[in-house]
Amino acid sequence: MYSFDFLRPTTLAEAAEALARDEALALGGGQTLIPTLKQRLASPSVLVSLGAIAEMKGICRNDAGQICIGGGTTHATVAAELAESYPAMAALAGQIGDPAVRNRGTIGGSLANNDPAACYPAGVLGSKSLIVTNTREIAVDDFFQGMFTTDLESGEIITEVRVAVPDRANYQKFVQPASRFAMVGVFVAQYSDGVRVAVTGASQDGVFRWTEAEAALSAHFDASALDGLSVAADDLIADLHGSAEYRAHLIKVMTARAVKAA
């Protein structure tokens, strides 16, 4: 990889200052970024590790009952600590990568990267969530803006993800076995005022909400409500692992499985 200066601030203020430097890049858990640097697909002049910022780590409940997950919280911590309070999100976190990856990778890093096949975008968009950064709050429906693209400004840091716990939820992931990313992953969450369905792995635009399924499931929360619905294959990913039509089919299958398991 190309050479860079490495900084490891211990406060958000220091991190923001460091990220204001020319060609600075934030490093979360590094499970995507470090392989990317090795391939010389990124060449920052300054790499700012967020790993030593204690205020960005950990999970709590706020007065509104929302779960607040620090942006620097690892997948392993979410998998362990949300097992009772939000089991669907805990299960999702526990399926990312492998144990060693989950011990390093962070929710903030995953969301900021917005890989089109990552799990967290489905869980967070499938929940009523708020993305909190060091400068503002972003509604989750405004956050994801296409493959590897988000509403984040240069140098902006995800400090916290606030998630409202649904009445029931489930995540179904059809694993691409070589990469352990989702071929298709569907997160379904039922709230008192409606159902959210978020799909990852399938679209060239990254994670998206399947609004037709949301309407049908909000009227009747049963897999049979999906009968007659279909997903257009037009903008879906086609690669050697599966055609667009295959992924379109999987979306409906995985949604039905998630509804049954919720």
């Binding site: 050479s3 490495f6 470090i34 590790s49 492998d98 144990p99």
Partner: protein, 161 residues
């Protein structure tokens, strides 16, 4: 260059590193602890797994400076104090859990992490936990046997695959 200090296998060590120096490079090239292997260098194969503050991590996907002041354990720190093999290492030998041995350091470190959090895993749990450790020799069967044996369980019951 920046000076980095950490504890490796119980000893305080330090050395000069670049920003881009990976933990595995620091272990192998500065400390000459070459038991930790670099297999794929893309954080997929798990040959480089070590423990940082008690957690299994891929040392090829972590910069040395991120492990500053941390407690690191490598395969060189796994044997018993008298130099004899640990229970996990002995089980890998007894059950032929290795052939070429390249993946073995990572397998042993991942097994140690698994048994620390789940002392009596089922066969399914063992296979799931070792998903991030690739072996191209054994077909995994004897590795799973070794892990179950190291946990003190009857490994004759595991399914033949």
């Amino acid at each position: 260059m920046t000076k980095v200090t950490m504890t490796v296998n119980g000893k305080t060590v330090s050395g000069e590193v670049e920003g881009r120096t990976l933990l595995v490079s620091f272990l192998r090239e500065t400390l000459h602890l070459t038991g930790t292997h670099v297999g794929c260098d893309t954080s997929q194969c798990g040959a480089c797994v070590v423990h940082v503050n008690g957690k299994a991590v891929k040392s090829c996907a972590l910069f040395a400076q991120e492990a500053a002041d941390a407690d690191v354990r490598t395969i060189e720190g796994m044997a018993n104090a008298d130099g004899s093999l640990s229970v996990i290492q002995q089980a890998f030998q007894d059950h032929h859990g290795l052939q070429c041995g390249f993946c073995t350091p990572g397998m042993v470190m991942s097994t140690a992490a698994l048994l620390a959090e789940n002392p009596k895993p089922t066969e399914t749990e063992v296979r799931h936990y070792l998903e991030g450790n690739l072996c191209r020799c054994t077909g995994y069967h004897n590795i799973v046997k070794a892990v179950l044996a190291a946990s003190g369980q009857d490994m004759d019951q595991i399914a033949a695959e």
